[in-house]
Amino acid sequence: MNRRVLVAGLAVTLPLVALLVVSLGRDPHRMDAPLVGRPAPPFALRPAGGGQPVTLESLRGRPVLVNFWATWCVPCFQEHPVLTAGSRRYPDVAFLGVVYEDEEPRVQRYLREQGGAYPSLMDDGGKTAIAYGVYGVPETYAIAPDGTIVDKHTGPLTDGRLRALVDKARIGAMVGQGSQ
């Protein structure tokens, strides 16, 4: 038995194998959200179908959920009932939809057919989506009463995940302090 070979061999290979084991559950497509913990980019967008522009500023003091979506996006269709029910269940939270790369008539028709419980805003030119670093729809941002983004969810929401986002948005200030 050559101990040096044994030790050297294990020293080179074991950490690598251990690293691969640890990484097994990793999702290579997951994106970090660099905006979490930072002030939400402001916006002033008009609702689909017309009306006064809605600003994020005007909602200061309330927890806010911003959901980026589109009519052509299948997962958005799946999470739509979760969001509409949620907006009724949590009336203290301001729900906002921001339409991503879509046309207003299609959005209006979609909302008529599927039912809408909160404003969906037209993001002409996609400036707001770019400011939030939206990678693909749906993406949902939880914003605390002080205007800080406290969490982000990529992909369709479930009731449980929505609940978690709402809770974080409500106690956002504390979460923000705790993590600093």
């Binding site: 050559n2 061999g9 690598l16 194998v17 690293l19 640890v22 097994l24």
Partner: protein
């Protein structure tokens, strides 16, 4: 001996059943039998038959089945050719191969299950990944890559047999080298074909991105190349036995690591298959194989005692040692860069990626050093060289080094590393061509033979030597082409309206509008770009966007006009629906063609090295020149 006979039969049975299973799957794919889950997964009535056959390896489960086929062919072939040779090693080697075969059979039958029956089969399937339908190279690249990857199982088994028996005699070097050379040649060609495919299909204008999966194919190539060189030193001096065996074991482990990387979902890449239970299973195999190798080395390596020694000197021996050191260093560099993002995420929870700058900064100096060493090594004699010998050997190639550098400067090359690469490339080119030419010239002088007769005589008598230097010549050409093409290109991204022209270098590109094309499996919008160079009309280049039913985002296909000097490379970034304007990415990539030519030369060298040598009763009258003993065997 009865046991050995039965082991052989088992090897043949494995090969036969894998051939049968794969033929069955090909039949199901061609018959569009959607009750077979794999066919339902990747089959489609809309795709042509060649795409249906290619689908065999286009998705995870099928690729495992195909792996089994290649492994079966290798094991069958290696067992058959050695059926009455090396009786002390072969039972062990075949046992190791069959252990690997058992694992891959388990993978097919257990986690992969491509033959699962679907109770209510769909009437049509989605077809394979559109990227794979986009180019004919996809028919060639994966099988060659598998032939390279899977083939490394054979030298692994032989090396393990040497350790298990505790012997590595001179007679066993030949099968070891042959069975390392075959998958190595496949791997070399496959890696470059993969680069070629990326270049012709992906449209970003490059052929190598240090993507985790590209690295995964490069790692075993590096260790296998190192193993060739240390095997030569072992053959000549009786040293480095344990080291050579270690390199071969590492090569095999790296192929399994590469398989894991593509099939576990841990790494993100254009090449990745989706996540499944196959990943963890391969990881278990990788861990077990690693422990087996480390344990085997620790308990047995001391039995492979050296038969000679090396003395420190400026000689070819030292060049070989340095070469091995550099190859291993490069292997670690690439490995660390590939897995480092995992380390960061596991320890700090944040994502990061190791980009091109790291790999380029680390790999370029090592690559250039290897290029230079490829010239210095063969120029030096074995053993100890006198001062006069050294001067005679090392100074003349500086002529070509100077010429290459001057040519580069004249052509406008200013990048320091590219100039260094040209210098080293010129040096090594002169040494290599000299080594190839000298014996021919001697023969022509000594025997009064014509050029053709002399060439055929030399390659018949010293085939391994010629093969080795051919590979070197290809490698010089490849490294120089890589250096020049990756630093000296020009590129532009513009939005052009119909009728508008842009200039790039000597070319004038005029966008003339678009054509719509309809093919059975896709729709395409083709942009017509007229190319002129000065007053000369060079015709149309037609980069295109392809739209597949199963994919929302279109996939572009670039158009390339190649010449020995440079490629004009056009790809479409966007096309407006009426065809009034396009976003055009235009590039001039110098010397890219030479990379493909270089690979052809390397592949030919590899093939030549595999042919049996006729130099059994070599005439002593034709003494090989001192510097010419380089890659040639002492028999």
């Amino acid at each position: 001996m009865a046991g050995w006979a039965w082991t052989r039969r088992l090897a043949y049975v494995y090969a036969a059943s894998m051939i049968a299973a794969n033929l069955l799957m090909v039949y199901a794919l061609l018959a569009r039998d959607f009750s077979v889950s794999y066919v339902a997964h990747v089959g489609s009535r809309a795709v042509p038959n060649w795409v249906a056959v290619v689908s065999l390896w286009s998705s995870l489960e099928g690729s495992i089945l195909f792996w089994g086929l290649v492994l079966g062919l290798y094991i069958g072939g290696a067992t058959y050719t050695n059926r009455d040779r090396h009786p002390e090693y072969m039972p062990w080697a075949t046992g190791v191969w069959l252990a690997c075969a058992a694992f891959f059979s388990f993978l097919v039958a257990g986690p992969a299950q491509p033959f699962l029956t679907i109770p209510s089969p769909p009437t049509d399937g989605p077809g394979p990944n559109p990227l794979l339908q986009n180019h004919l190279l996809m028919v060639i690249h994966p099988p060659l890559l598998y032939a390279g990857y899977v083939g490394m199982t054979i030298p692994f088994g032989l090396a393990a047999a040497a350790l298990l028996t505790g012997r590595l005699g001179h007679d066993f070097l030949r099968p070891l080298r042959t069975w390392l050379m075959l998958p190595w040649a496949f791997l070399t060609v496959a890696i470059v074909l993969g680069g070629w495919w990326a270049y012709e299909v992906l449209g970003w204008g490059g052929y190598w991105a240090w993507d985790p999966v590209e690295n995964a194919s490069f790692l075993p190539w590096l260790t296998a190349t190192a193993a060739f060189h240390s095997a030569l030193l072992m053959e000549r001096k009786g040293v480095l036995k344990g080291w050579t065996v270690t390199l071969i074991l590492a090569t095999f482990l790296l192929t399994i690591l590469g398989t894991f990387m593509t099939r576990s979902g841990v790494f993100n890449s254009v090449h990745s298959f989706t996540q499944s239970a196959i990943g963890p299973t391969i990881l278990v195999f990788l861990a077990a194989a690693t422990l087996f190798c480390v344990g085997l080395l620790a308990t047995r390596v001391d039995r492979l005692a050296p038969e000679g020694g090396l003395e420190p000197s400026v000689s070819r021996d030292t060049a070989f040692l340095l070469n091995n050191l550099l190859f291993v260093l490069l292997t670690f560099t690439v490995l660390v860069g590939t897995v480092f993002p995992l380390v960061v995420e596991a320890t700090r929870g944040t994502q990061m990626s190791v980009g091109r700058p790291y790999f380029d900064r680390m790999a370029v100096p090592i690559g250039v050093a290897l290029l230079f060493l490829m010239g210095i090594g063969p120029a030096l004699p074995w053993g100890r060289a006198s001062r006069v010998q050294m001067r005679q050997a090392l100074l003349p190639p500086l002529a070509a080094a100077g010429v290459f550098t001057a040519l580069g400067l004249l052509a406008g090359v200013r990048h320091p590393w590219t100039l260094v690469a040209l210098f080293c490339g010129g040096y090594t080119a002169q040494v290599t061509l000299g080594e190839l030419w000298l014996p021919v010239a001697r023969r022509m002088r000594a025997h009064g033979e014509g050029l053709g007769a002399a060439v055929s005589g030399v390659q018949g008598r010293a085939r391994r030597r010629v093969a080795g230097y051919l590979v070197h010549a290809g490698a010089v050409l490849a490294l120089v082409a890589v250096a020049v093409s990756s630093t000296e290109g020009i590129t532009t991204e513009v939005q052009v309206a119909r009728g508008e022209a842009v200039t790039l270098g000597p070319y004038t590109l005029t966008f003339q509008g678009v054509d719509q094309l309809s093919e059975p499996h896709r729709e395409a919008v083709v942009a017509n770009v007229a190319v002129r160079r000065g007053d000369r009309d060079l015709g149309l280049l037609q980069p295109r966007m392809n739209y597949y039913a199963s994919q929302r985002e279109p996939i572009g296909t670039p158009a390339v006009r190649s010449s020995l000097r440079h490629d004009l490379y056009l790809s479409v970034l966007n096309i407006d629906p009426e065809g009034r304007s396009i976003g055009l990415h235009a590039m001039i990539n110098p010397m890219v063609v030479w990379l493909w030519i270089a690979t052809l030369v390397m592949g030919l060298g590899g093939l030549l090295g595999l042919l049996p040598s006729r130099r059994v009763h070599a005439a002593a009258a034709l003494a090989a020149p001192p510097a010419g003993e380089g890659l040639e065997a002492a028999r």
